[in-house]
Amino acid sequence: MSDTPVLRVRDVRKRFGDHVALDGVSLDVHEGEVVTVIGPSGSGKSTLARCVHQLESIDGGAMYLDGELLGYEFHRGHLRPLPDRRVAAQRGRMGMVFQQFNLFAHWSVLRNVIEAQVLVHGRRPEDARREALRLLERVGLADKADAHPRMLSGGQQQRVAIARALATNPRIMLFDEPTSALDPELVDEVLSVVLDLARGGMTMIIVTHEMSFAREVADRCVFMEKGQIVETGTPEEIFDNPASPRLRAFLSRYSGRPAEIPGERLLKEEITP
């Protein structure tokens, strides 16, 4: 294990029009590390995941995968964007799991898991097929290989999406709120697959609203608000001993107190600094 982080994010800035989505975010993720990202909606968590995967361009800062600059190259002493083909190849070295699953609707489950291996990584179709079946077995869906995505439950679709992302042996897996679009009773089947990956030593960034899961699976936990990383630390530090008032306020909203009247809660939020 080298000391180069798998992923290095340095002072990344991103804005959508007037809205500052990421305001100087820096984060290192090392081999085998699981980082969970928590924070209120609109805090920039999902934008961070999408920027790392180069689905959104960044306005400033830099990101490195295994020490290689993402999305840009030096040419005669100047930085310039990489051509589409090279960016695609960089994306192919990461795995992404979306909130809305985004399985390819016109392909069977099996083909969803096979296709990138063949198209992007040039594997032989037989090998890709064998690998796909192995991964579907791993997420417990080998019997659904010939089904179409729409015939599956949300939880099953998300497990297929995880298998699809794993199929190309990514250096790092990014999860963008993988359970937020699921019915409550389907959340656990997805989280247990993710937990299994974490135990297997996969390097991961997990953006999530599931607080107990964020704590259980993480080696390190990051709290974001207003496009910034406010606090980062071990799960114990973040959940048991939050240093910043903003994190304390955020966690108290998620703790299992009896439900408040929404109006009252809104008032309180306005008072919180």
Binding site: N102, H106, V120, R164
Partner: protein, 285 residues
């Protein structure tokens, strides 16, 4: 609520219900029947239809040759129009402004010009441009051909109809592409597909579901639109029957021959369209 509804006095089973009588439906049916009977009687009783003449010319070699030309022209323009339409649609959705703008201008211009005007224009291109040159723009010319030997009625027809068809297909394809969920493109890019792989393997196949029905109508109107080429003396189906009735004055029966063939081809196209719809509907709700 806490109180259960009172039990019905007898056991009700809607399976035993009898259909309602709907008088308006019966009235509409009767009117329809009378109209159909009247029309059928008109077809049969009016001797000026000259059905035997129509039957004689249905498989006339000249008519069949005209039909062949109509089909050839339709297929050529359909293929060219579809391929160019996809390119133009991709261009209109391009992130590079000048290309998107140019494609938009093309669509606006060529949807505005009646195809008949275009056909006559291309047929008379020789007046505007006596020779067609090949060379470096604004530089020397390597070879050139006299326009009137290049632009036959077939090339004029292909050019005119293709330019028209491309503009319409571009809009149909663009609508199809926009109907594909953005998450599909995200996922394709996230898997490491290049922009082209993402378009060809993920976006376009899913867009086909939305593209096929209007494209089918478009091909059908193209097939009928080819009858316009008779004005530039191209021997299509309509022109062939015109040649015959100009000699024999059997106008109505020969128009019936043409209509019968158009009907046959359109019905086959519709059946093909339905199969395509079923094919691309896979995996969708």
């Amino acid at each position: 609520m806490s109180v259960a509804p009172p039990m019905a006095p007898q056991v009700v089973d809607v399976a035993s219900a009898r259909p309602r009588i709907r008088p308006l439906r019966w009235a509409a049916g009767a009117v329809l029947l009378v109209l159909v009977a009247q029309f059928a009687w008109f077809l049969v009783s009016n001797p000026r239809f000259e059905w035997p003449v129509a039957g004689r010319y249905l498989f006339d070699p000249n008519v069949l040759r005209g039909l062949g030309m109509t089909l050839l022209l339709t297929v050529i323009v359909m293929l060219l129009g579809s391929v160019l339409g996809v390119l133009l649609a991709a261009g209109r959705l391009s992130g590079f402004r000048p290309v998107a703008w140019a494609c938009g201008v093309y669509v606006t211009v060529f949807r505005s010009i009646p195809p008949l005007v275009q056909l006559i224009f291309w047929f008379n291109l020789g007046y505007l441009l006596p020779r067609i040159p090949l060379g470096i723009p604004f530089g020397p010319t390597f070879v050139s051909w006299p326009t009137n030997s290049v632009i036959s009625s077939l090339t004029a027809a292909v050019i005119g109809l293709t330019l028209h068809e491309t503009a319409y297909m571009a809009e149909i394809v663009r609508a199809g592409i926009l109907a594909v969920d953005g998450g599909q493109r995200d996922a394709a890019r996230a898997m490491g597909f290049t922009a082209r792989q993402s378009f060809m393997k993920v976006v376009l196949p899913q867009a086909m579901r939305v593209i096929v029905p209007p494209a089918g109508s478009e091909f059908i109107s193209l097939l009928k639109g080819t009858s316009l080429v008779s004005v530039i003396a191209m021997a299509d189906l309509l022109y062939s029957v015109q040649v015959i009735y100009n000699r024999t004055y059997e106008i109505v029966p020969l128009l019936i021959v043409a209509c019968a063939w158009y009907l046959v081809v359109v019905i086959s196209l519709s059946m093909g369209q339905r199969r395509l719809e079923r094919h691309f509907g896979k995996g969708q709700r």
